[in-house]
């Protein structure tokens, strides 16, 4: 599974430009799916199973996109000014490397810092692609770039630029492969444009019209020195979301997920995330409303070029998701 994870996380596919990762996922799932389609916003919708009398139409969602940068201006000396795609923060950028979708690589520099304690905003940072003038700069206004950082395997812990949310993409692919038999019609949806406001999941949920929705995404942890206070830690199992700043998970879904974990002896944690939300919000509010929840994979340093997850958590997430889909669901 680590090879799959590496191939997914090293791909560059910022929001709105998910074509390469969609292509890769399509290759990975095609032998296991009953039906594969791509919708108008680029969501990859993979169906498996037929709805039996005891089954439901279930939508799973993990987003393919990642945060990135977009060129706003090429100055007379060939430096590229930029804006952001998704929740990028300036202090994570200094010295970082990026790659534009046209292949051009660059490094991020900044105007002179007057005060080491005060980080520049984006307007004082720029990308240096090695050009010397506007004319020889291979980047145009509107060109999109992703962060570049190789996958790092620390054994139990894995690090990459886009664990958010490729690790969940990997979990869903692996679950699809292991899921031999299900009473449900399951739509594994690999969504677009989550990082700019759960846009892909919004239209995908309308199209799938599910009876139950589960997002698979990363969540923050409270287990680093003087970090945020949060009762989620790496290595203690997948987190079952109770609430985040955009959604209160359906309590029946939370109970069903927790009961299933206990019956299968899979470790789990309950999650309350104070900032951020997931595709589950879009599913919950779709059409006339959908019972929704989220399986979260604990992740340190989210939205930096080095997001860290625990491999046991990843494998347990696959086990839990598979267990959830194997049997009829009785929400109560």
């Amino acid at each position: 599974m680590k090879e799959l994870i590496q191939s997914l996380v090293e791909m560059t596919a910022p929001s709105g430009y998910e074509a390469p990762i969609r292509e890769l996922i399509q290759q990975e799932v095609k032998d296991y799916a009953d039906e594969v389609r791509v919708d108008a916003l680029g969501n990859l919708v993979v169906r498996k199973g037929q709805k039996s009398s005891s089954g439901k139409r279930i939508m799973l969602a993990a987003h393919m996109d990642e945060i990135g940068l977009i060129a706003t201006h090429i100055d007379e000396n060939g430096f590229v000014r930029f804006s952001t795609i998704g929740g990028v923060r300036p202090h994570t950028l200094y010295g970082g490397r990026v790659r534009f979708l046209n292949g051009t690589a660059g490094v991020i520099g900044g105007e002179r810092l007057e005060n080491m304690e005060r980080v520049h905003g984006f307007e004082k940072l720029f990308i240096d692609v090695g050009a010397t003038s506007r004319e020889d700069c291979p980047v145009r206004v509107g060109d999109v770039a992703g962060f570049e950082r190789p996958f790092l395997d620390l054994g139990k812990r894995l690090v990459a630029k886009s664990m958010d949310d490729r690790i969940s993409v990997a979990v869903m692919i692996e679950t699809l492969r292991r899921l031999k038999d299900t009473p449900h019609e399951v739509f594994f949806v690999f969504t677009t444009q989550e990082e700019v406001g759960v846009r892909g999941a919004t239209t995908a949920a309308f199209g799938v019209d599910p009876e139950l929705g589960i997002a698979v995404d990363v969540t923050g942890t409270g287990d680093t020195p003087k970090g945020v206070k949060m009762a989620v830690a790496l290595g203690k199992g997948p987190a079952i979301k109770v609430k985040d700043s955009g959604m209160i998970a359906d309590p029946r879904v939370v109970r069903w997920m927790a009961d299933t974990a206990e019956q299968a002896a899979i470790p789990y944690q309950l999650e309350i995330l104070e900032g951020g939300s997931t595709d589950a919000r879009a599913m919950q509010l779709s059409r006339a409303g959908v019972p929704a929840g989220c399986l979260s994979i604990p992740c340190r340093y989210i939205h930096t070029p080095s997001e860290m997850v625990d491999f046991d958590d990843v494998q347990n997430s696959v086990r839990l998701l598979t267990a959830l889909l194997q049997s009829p669901v009785d929400l109560k």
Binding site: R22, A40, G142, G207
Partner: protein, 359 residues
């Protein structure tokens, strides 16, 4: 222009007169009646279907000539930023709130038109004679300002009525000056396309309401039309004046005179890359100048449209305007003309094959 062109280019006297009427009309978000009346009058003789929906959007259809055409929605918003009267105080003064994004610093000392009879009013302030240098360092807030209708007229309007800047439309050389060029330029453009549409597409024209307060009209319009593809036609700020310190201006957003602005990304939308490429190809083949709007904040009706139902591929094209959301905007005739031309030829070249490419 090539021989296929049937839109009226260069911009004709009658198109300019229509823009003037549209610009001088008052249609602050939520009360778009005046502009809607002009739109209906103009398009009714040409459109195959016209209706006004529950929110007040004008939805017009112009059928394609061929079989299985692409159903293309074009959206331009009828509303403009302005004010809503909140409460009368003595002597014909009204407390008011701002609808849409207006910098409170531009309000002071401006003549305004109030209510359906366009009663003259002024957003007054204490004159310099009676203020201290310290007071003059701070911008006045909306709470501190009043619309003064000059006593008796105060009785002729009620809380809830709208007001807007009193600027009259002017043409001056190659430029246009007016209060509501955002987005009457788009409305005038759409009217021309309804009158003279490219024959290959099913044209679904939405003249939308309440864009300035959160893209509210466009969402329901797109739900109703359920189009294959949509283009928002709007006006976007040009912040293209040189910087006072002589440094390079890196945050111009767009530039006047550089042609229609094609959107890649704003705060509400990531444009469909296939449509961006299509418009750029069209512009380059036709020799129409264009610019890429600097990616960043802001938003157009496309932001609401693309998330409707199962998703709709969108892009936005704007006429650049200086001094957006102030009493006096400025645009160039040529940018308007090139925007109309880019849209016409872009639509003319649009085929379903575009969407068989990967996004």
């Amino acid at each position: 222009m090539n021989e296929y062109s049937s839109i009226s280019l260069p911009i004709s006297e009658s198109q300019l007169e229509l823009l003037e009427r549209l610009c001088n009309a008052v249609a602050v978000s939520g009360d778009e009646r005046e502009v809607r009346a002009i739109v209906l009058e103009e398009i009714q003789p040409f459109a195959d279907e016209v209706r006004v929906d529950a929110l007040g959007n004008v939805l017009a259809v112009r059928h394609a000539q061929g079989e299985n055409p692409l159903r293309v929605m074009l959206a331009a918003h009828m509303d403009e930023v302005g004010f809503i009267l909140v409460e009368e105080e003595e002597g014909g003064w009204y407390r008011f709130e701002v609808l849409g994004g207006v910098d409170p610093r531009v309000l002071v000392g401006k003549p305004v038109l109030v209510g359906k009879d366009h009663l003259p009013g002024v957003i007054g302030t204490r004159p310099i004679h009676l203020t201290t240098p310290d007071e003059r360092k701070n911008a006045l807030t909306v709470e501190q300002l009043r619309i003064d209708l000059g006593n008796e007229n105060g009785k002729k309007v009620k809380p809830g009525e709208r007001a807007t800047f009193a600027t009259r439309f002017r043409q001056t050389g190659p430029s246009l000056i007016g209060k509501a060029l955002d987005d009457r330029l788009g409305v005038a453009t759409l009217i021309e396309l309804v009158k003279n549409p490219p024959a290959n597409v099913e044209l679904l024209a939405a003249f939308t309401v309440q864009e300035e307060i959160g893209l509210r009209g466009a969402g329901v319009a797109a739900y109703a039309f359920n189009p294959d593809v949509a283009i928002a036609v709007d006006a976007t700020p040009a912040n293209d004046l040189p910087l006072w310190d002589g440094e390079e201006n890196t945050r111009y957003n767009t530039r006047l005179g550089a042609g229609p602005a094609i959107y890649v990304a704003d705060a509400a939308t990531l444009s469909d890359p296939r449509l961006i490429r299509h418009l750029i190809r069209t512009a380059e083949e036709m020799g129409i100048p264009y610019q890429i709007r600097q990616p960043g904040g802001g938003g157009t009706d496309a932001g609401a449209i693309h998330k409707q139902r199962e998703g709709i591929p969108v892009v936005s094209v704007s006429v650049p305007v200086r001094y957006a959301h102030t009493p006096a905007l400025q645009a160039r005739m040529l940018d308007w003309e090139n925007t109309l031309s880019l849209l016409y030829h872009g639509l003319e070249r649009l085929s379903p094959h575009l969407f068989s490419e990967d996004r």
